[in-house]
């Protein structure tokens, strides 16, 4: 795993020439494996790139798309881009794109799996299956989340309520706040920082 990361960083360097748009001073690119696939995160390398897609829209109607508070709950940590990258590189838990499938199919952050926020809102067998997979155990009507994995959720941006909504629903059934992380900036901040997304329709 470590060896693979090193090879990939070297590969990244050679492909890009001397990468000049690094993530941090020490880190040119980030590479990690997830579910048998390898992902690379890097910043735009061209000198004069601008965000022009729909994520450059400034004014989604509010209601309903209110700008969200910085924190989703007092003990749910809010992440920025570097913390998301660290979470993925160190495999700290499950990275969840909480948007509806049609959004995920257009573009998503490397390493994210899609579990739409709607799944977390209701007591259904589908929800129970996901919570079981995350390490939860249902005992009668109560959940035991003592062995549950840490999850990191995001959606379209600071004006998107879907991931906070999902986390609030999980809090109600006892999912520990400390085991949830919130990437508030979401798709919009990720791309404003010049970081790459995966666009399934466009091939890889």
């Amino acid at each position: 795993m470590i060896l693979r990361s090193i090879t990939l960083s070297l590969l990244g360097f050679s492909l890009l020439g001397a990468a000049s748009h690094n993530i941090t001073e020490e880190k040119a690119i980030a590479a990690f494996a997830h579910d048998g696939k390898t992902y690379v995160i890097q910043r735009v390398q061209e000198d004069d790139a601008y965000l022009t897609n729909e994520y450059s829209l400034t004014s989604r109607p509010a209601p309903p798309f209110y700008v969200q508070p910085f924190k989703a709950a007092p003990n749910i940590e809010t992440y920025g881009e570097l913390e998301v990258i660290d979470f993925l590189e160190k495999n700290k838990g499950v990275f969840i794109d909480a948007r509806l499938k049609e959004w995920y199919d257009k573009s998503y952050i490397p390493g994210a799996i899609n579990i739409p926020f709607t799944l977390f809102l209701k007591d259904t067998p589908e929800r129970d299956k996901v919570l079981n997979d995350l390490g939860g155990a249902k005992k009668g009507k109560e959940w035991d989340f003592s062995k549950v994995q840490t999850i990191l959720l995001y959606c379209n941006g600071a004006w998107c309520e879907q991931s906070p909504h999902a986390m609030h629903a999980l809090m109600k059934i006892g999912y520990p706040e400390e085991k949830m992380k919130y990437y508030r900036g979401g798709m919009q901040s990720w791309q404003l920082a010049g970081l790459n997304v995966i666009e399934p329709g466009k091939g890889e």
Binding site: H21, T52, T58, A62, Y79, G80, E83, A193, G194
Partner: protein, 201 residues
């Protein structure tokens, strides 16, 4: 002062409903703040087709130089977003207990900034005398730091390290950490959400 407050209230009533397409929060359509002595109507751009353009839409920056910044500057310094800034303007700023500080260059500040902010360029970061002088204005007193101004620092955004440098310098010189906040999103995030900015001509 009372007359000014009253006229602000009246102006507020007159404009009710003008910004209801893209509100700031469920309860707030706009707020009025002072910027360099003038009243500024702070709201969000109402055109739902409006796109971010110009240099804050730029997404390619060299690093070293413009590297991505951690979301937190210091364990005891709270990071805030736009809604917390609006509440800060309504409470701490209007009670003269708080200041929003733009640490970018004077040229950048004059070109475009967040309404009500003051400019303390980060270039003073190594000038202890200058920082001490600023501390006096902010109410710092060797025996009692409980009355100091609450500060929110910001710069260009998630790839700008100037706020972090300034905050560290302030903490090193003794400014209480619970009186300092960090707006990581900065100008880029503020503009990407269509919030009002001001230019000084």
């Amino acid at each position: 002062m009372r007359i000014v407050a009253l006229s602000l209230l009246l102006a507020g009533a007159l404009y009710a409903g003008k910004y209801e397409t893209v509100k700031i929060t469920e309860d707030i359509e706009r707020i009025l703040v002072y910027h360099k002595g003038k009243v500024v109507d702070l709201h969000r751009i109402q055109n739902t087709e409006h796109k971010l353009t110009g240099h804050f839409a730029k997404i390619s920056y060299p690093c070293p130089g413009r590297c991505l910044q951690p979301i937190s500057v210091h364990p005891e310094v709270e990071t805030v977003g736009e809604i917390e800034i609006i509440h800060f303007m309504q409470k701490q700023e209007s009670q003269k207990n708080g200041l929003l500080i733009d640490v970018r260059s004077k040229e950048e500040y004059l070109e475009e900034t967040i309404p009500s902010s003051i400019n303390i360029p980060y270039t003073i970061v190594d000038n202890t005398q200058a920082i001490e002088d600023i501390f006096k204005v902010l109410g710092m007193n060797k025996d009692d730091s409980s009355k100091v101004q609450e500060l929110i620092f910001f710069c260009n955004g998630s790839t700008c390290d100037k706020s972090a440098k300034m905050i560290r310098a302030f903490i090193e010189m003794g400014y209480p950490t619970n009186k300092i906040k960090y707006y990581h999103g900065g100008m880029q995030m503020w503009k990407s959400l269509g919030f009002t900015t001001v230019a000084t001509k």
